[in-house]
Every structure is written in structure tokens, then in C-alpha cells.
Amino acid sequence: MRSFERVTGIVAPLDRLNVDTDQIIPKQFLKSIKRTGFGDNLFDAWRFADEGAIGKTPNERRLNPDFVLNQSRYQDARILLARRNFGCGSSREHAVWSLLEFGFRCVIAPSFADIFLSNCFKNGLLPIVLEEEVIDELFEMVNACTGFEVNVDLPAQAILLPAGERFEFAIDPFKKRTLIEGLDDIDLTLDYREEIAAFESRHRQRMPWIFIN
């Protein structure tokens, strides 16, 4: 997995509640059998004024000038500032893949939907949960200052602001380590292959009907 340690970058504000994974990557772009190629269609219905199709590049599309990510001040943003319940809806991991491929490495929000959150950790996209008031404050700062950049420091568990201010965030210590070291999640589990096999054998005795098909 892609590791995450520190990221410095422009913060883009997405001021909407309940942003769902259908918005992050609409279903018409889920037909690939690969993990790549989704970045061009991130927030497709909001970013573009025309209807997209697989294989059509952003250069061939009409941008929606009103959408926040299309403003010149947010080009090359690497951190997405969002509102509560971000990533609700479908389990599609393509949502995380498209955010990463577009260039985001971190999403900051008051809360995330469960499956989306889990998918973030599997791919090295850092989800940071902060209090609603802190998020409000960040939105104000981002809106007030063009080129607003922060440094997200995962080892220190802090977001460092230009003026020297810092917002600390909580993260599960083991998830933090997995992200920093970019560990392969399947390998971590296969370290326990004997325990799994032993469990399976007991489980088969207790509930043999599960194993008949």
C-alpha cells in the first residue's frame, strides 16, 4: 500500500453535507477492471458542464466554472476539506482511488461514512476527523486566503497552519503505523494463517452446515 507520512499542500473546500460516493465517482465510470483511470472523472457531474463518457479526457469536456475545484486558486490542491458524513452511500472503493488519482492525499471532515473510511486506510488516503467547530474555522481560513496551504504531519498527528497554529487530530495508533509504513494488509493477516486454519477447523465442527456447499 502507498505510505503516508507528511503532505504539504493547498486545501480545497467542498462545502456540502453528505457527499456520497455516487458524486465522488459516478457509476458510469465504474466499468473498468483496473484500479486506475478514475481521477479524470472525480466529482464528474459537478466538475463538468457536459455529460462524460468513458475514454473522454478532461480536455474534451466543458468545465463547470462554478465548481470549487475548477477555481484557479485550488488547482493542485492535495487536501480536501469537507462536511459531515463524507463518503456515504455505495461501498465502491473507486471513490478513494479517484480522489487519490486526482491528487488528494488527505480528506478532513467532521465525520465519514464507515465503508468509505475503511477504504481510505486500505489505500493510503488519510481521513482526518476534526470537531465541527474546527472544521468551520478551517473553512473560513481557506475561503479568506488564496493559496492557503497546510502541512499534514501524520507522525505528529497535527495539521500545521501557515501562521504557526496547529490542529491536532486523533488516529488509531495501529492504523497510523500501517499508513506510515505502507504495510500490506493481507500480509498482516496471513501472519496468522495458522490461527485462521485452526479456527476454521473448530468452526467446521461446530457449524458443519456452513461447509456443505
Binding site: 456520497d20 455516487d22 457509476k27 457531474a45 461501498s91 472503493e93 464507515d114 494488509d185 493477516t189 494463517r193
Partner: protein
């Protein structure tokens, strides 16, 4: 041992152990696979030279982007080359690893969440995963069933375990019985409307109470199906005679002595009387009326006798802005009565509401009536090939066809519009599916979530109407 919830019991029976990172390895009994979220998982396995831990724990069927017309042509009937590649890839992967698949030509093919229960593959006390958030459907059988991302699909293929931390317990108590014309769909929409789409985030819901006991298995599936729309990865209903009757004799259900053994265990699958829940919600089913969503989130729902909200009345500006965005997208005004909203298309289908009881209920409304002239298309898409065959045998297909509905082959269809069934920009649809997000049923399309009878009534009237006036 202290009192346990149903969720606690299933969790404990599947906890292999704790990984060094503090998370639990939960043994998975059944993984359901479809064409959209599995190809990258299979590719990942191959890339790392890993195999499947237990091939027989997997069951596959293509559903998301199969066309609902020209099904007899099989793969050749898929005009979209990219979609076809996903279906072909699922065929290839299942063949390569020896996974049982109900392929596009198999009469048992269908929406994965309809097929699992129908085949008796979904059983009480199981842990079930699928790369689809509506896996929560299977919780109707007291199975801990969760939607997962593709990395986890690969993880379960390789290790037979899902690694996660335990969620909190939430109790949703349903008192009283639903009245005529009001269904499980209305119940779950009302619950979501009350607690919100993040109301159960971090929780596993258990639905209980007299109102749940009275529900059929199919109605319980509708209820559990939309747990994810309330934020919960899983919803559960305890085992009772209704569960056992449904399961008995299904192709993949145990038989003979194994049935007896399983049966005894299954009857323990309920929360203990004094089990504690971290949170709870109570609803009176008897006073509910048919529900209709008006906005772009399932929580934006009202009774059919109500109107759209006025953003000026919202408790805070952020919510007011959110409501206004939803009204704008939906092309609706504030304070607009639901019964004045006219429709362009009707969709009866999806893992929420495409089972035989749904089709029977809708057909009862449609029988002897005609689809309104203003409706451009009214689709019925059965949840599986077997549901389709049964509906045809019962004469339901003829009822729909005579009224002017189109009768299609099984799949997810216009619930998420990955196949050719979709809305055009600004078209408005009464849909029995589960999500009314922007563009969900097609770019720019407008979705109103309703029960099958409400969709049927809307088809007849060309606008929303309280179906109880047609019964």
C-alpha cells in the same frame, strides 16, 4: 456470561483473534461476488501469487451492468463493450478459480442480494460480505452481512477474514403493525427520515419489536437492505419461525440431520432479554402512512400527505442551504405538495424491492388499469431469473404488460443505471430502489424513492398519489 445482543453473539462466534494492530479478524462464511467490484480483487490476488482461502465460500452472479433486454443473447446482448468486459472477466475468474457462478444465461442469475436468500445460501448466524453496500439485506436472516470495498474483497478471498473493529449496538424498536397500503419500504424510509443518513454510523442495527415479527422475510430484507442508508453497515433481525419456514427446502440450505443441528443453533440467534444497546430508536408502525422522498438523500422524505420543506424554516443556515440545493436539483419549489408532483418514468426493481411479494403487491394496484399517458416508460425488473419465472407463472407479468409496463430480465438496472436503463437529464422517476443521490439513475435524473405499490399508483396516475385511495 453477561447478556449479549444478537450482533455480539455472531461476532463472538466468528472472532478468530486480534491482529497486532488491535483489530479483530472475523471469519467470513460467505462472500458474494459480482462483476463491478471483484475484477481488481482477482487481479490483486494474481499479482501477489495468492489463491483463494476457501473457494466454496464464494458465490457469484453478474448483476450491476447486465442489460435487461435481449437476455437470450447472453454476452452477445451486452452492447457496451466496457460493461461486457467486466461480465466476461467475472466469467473468466470464476472458471479459473472454480467459483460457482450463476452466469448471464443461468435462470438463477439475478441481483446478488436477491439470489443469496433465494438459494438458501444466506443462512442465520453466518458472516457474509460482498463488494456492495446493500449486503446489509441478508441481515434479515440474523446473518452479519456487510458491504466492503474491493481491497477487502481481495482480503477475504485470500484470508477468509475481514479485519475490523467491532461496531456499537443499536436497537430500532418497531411497535405495532403496518396498515394496509403501508410496507417495509415506508417503514425504513421513515426510520431514515427520523435518524438521518448518518444516524447509525458506527453501529449495527437490530430491528425488533412486534412490528418486525409480523413482517415476512422479504419485507425484513427490504428493511435491512436500507440500513446502509441510515449509516449502518449491517442490520439484523432475530431468527423466528418465519425465518425457518423461508429457509426450509431451499437448494443450499442444510437438510436432514444437518437441518436439525442448524435449526437448534439458529433458534439461539436473538438478543438476550437484558442485553444492552449503545443507542436506540423507537417507531410506531401503525400510524405510518406511505412515504416519498423529495430530495437527493434518502433522509429527505415525507409522508404522501405532506409537502416539500421550506429551507427558510431550517434550524441552521448550512441545513437550509443543503435543502435548497436538493430542491434545486430536483426541480421542486418549497412547500410543494407531494401529490402535485408529476412523473416521467417508473422503476419497479432493485435489491430493495424486486422480490415476488413486491411484484404481487404492485400488480394488485395495476390490475385492470393503464399507465398514464404522460409516463414515458414504466419498467418492471424482477430481482432474479427465478422471481421473473414465478411472476410469469402467476400471471403478474401479463398484468404489468397489459397496463403498459415493460417486463424485463433480472438485474440492478435503473437502480444505479450502469446498464442501458437510465433517466435522461431532468426526467423524474418514482423508483422502488434505495438511493436518490444526484445522477444516481442517470446524469441529471431525479429520483423519488417509494414502495412498489406507490410506484405502481404513480404509474397509473402520472403523479404521486396516496396508494390507499386506489386499494
Amino acid at each position: 456470561m453477561s447478556a449479549q445482543t444478537l450482533y455480539d453473539k455472531i461476532w463472538d462466534a466468528h472472532a478468530v483473534g486480534t491482529r497486532a494492530d488491535g483489530q479483530t479478524m472475523l471469519y467470513i462464511d460467505l462472500q458474494l461476488l459480482h462483476e463491478v467490484t471483484s475484477p481488481q480483487a482477482f487481479a490483486g490476488l494474481a499479482l501477489h501469487g495468492r489463491g483463494l482461502w476457501r473457494v466454496a465460500a464464494n458465490l457469484a452472479t453478474p448483476d450491476h451492468n447486465v442489460p435487461t433486454e435481449n437476455r437470450e443473447l447472453g454476452l452477445a446482448g451486452i452492447e457496451d463493450a466496457v460493461a461486457k468486459q467486466q461480465v466476461v472477466t467475472l466469467d473468466d475468474n470464476c472458471r479459473r478459480y472454480g467459483i460457482t457462478q450463476f452466469d448471464i444465461l443461468d435462470p438463477r442469475q439475478g441481483i446478488v442480494h436477491v439470489v443469496g436468500p433465494e438459494q438458501g445460501a444466506t443462512q442465520p448466524g453466518m458472516t457474509i460480505v460482498c463488494g456492495d453496500s446493500h449486503t446489509s439485506t441478508h441481515g434479515a436472516f440474523a446473518a452479519l452481512a456487510q458491504g466492503i470495498g474491493t481491497s477487502d474483497v481481495e482480503h477475504v478471498m485470500a484470508t477468509q477474514c475481514l479485519v475490523q473493529s467491532k461496531a456499537e449496538n443499536m436497537r430500532v424498536a418497531v411497535d405495532g403493525a403496518l396498515t394496509e397500503g403501508v410496507y417495509a419500504k415506508d417503514l425504513i424510509l421513515a426510520i431514515i427520515g427520523a435518524i438521518g443518513t448518518a444516524g447509525a454510523t458506527g453501529h449495527t442495527i437490530e430491528y425488533m419489536g412486534s412490528g418486525v415479527l409480523e413482517l415476512s422475510m422479504e419485507a425484513r430484507m427490504t428493511l435491512c437492505n436500507m440500513s446502509i442508508e441510515a449509516g449502518a453497515r449491517a442490520g439484523l433481525v432475530a431468527v423466528d419461525d418465519t425465518t425457518l419456514e423461508y429457509l426450509h427446502g431451499r437448494p443450499r440450505a442444510p437438510q436432514g440431520e444437518l437441518w436439525d443441528l442448524a435449526h437448534d443453533y439458529w433458534l439461539t440467534l436473538h438478543s438476550d432479554d437484558d442485553a444492552e444497546f449503545a443507542s436506540g430508536f423507537q417507531i410506531d408502525a401503525a400510524t405510518l402512512i406511505p412515504q416519498v422522498t423529495w430530495g437527493t438523500s434518502p433522509e429527505l422524505v415525507v409522508g404522501i400527505d405532506s409537502a416539500t420543506p421550506n429551507p427558510d424554516d431550517a434550524p441552521d443556515p448550512a441545513q437550509g442551504q443543503s435543502l435548497q440545493l436538493a430542491l434545486d436539483y430536483m426541480g421542486l419549489a418549497a412547500d410543494q405538495p407531494m401529490v402535485e408532483i408529476g412523473l416521467d418514468r417508473i422503476f419497479i426493481g432493485s435489491c430493495t424491492n424486486a422480490r415476488i411479494e413486491d411484484l404481487r403487491a404492485a400488480a394488485n394496484v395495476v390490475r385492470g388499469r393503464k399507465v398514464a399517458k404522460r409516463i414515458k416508460q414504466a419498467l418492471v425488473v424482477p430481482g432474479s431469473g427465478l422471481v421473473k419465472a414465478q411472476a410469469e407463472a402467476e400471471g403478474l407479468a401479463d398484468v404489468f404488460l397489459e397496463a403498459g409496463f415493460e417486463w424485463r430480465a433480472a438485474g440492478c438496472s435503473m437502480c444505479l443505471a450502469m446498464n442501458p436503463d437510465r433517466l435522461q437529464p431532468e426526467e423524474r422517476c418514482a423508483s422502488t430502489s434505495n438511493r436518490n443521490f444526484e445522477g444516481r439513475q442517470g446524469h441529471g435524473g431525479r429520483t423519488h424513492l417509494v414502495s412498489p405499490v406507490m410506484a405502481a399508483a404513480a404509474a397509473i396516475q402520472g403523479r404521486f398519489v396516496d396508494v390507499r385511495s386506489l386499494l
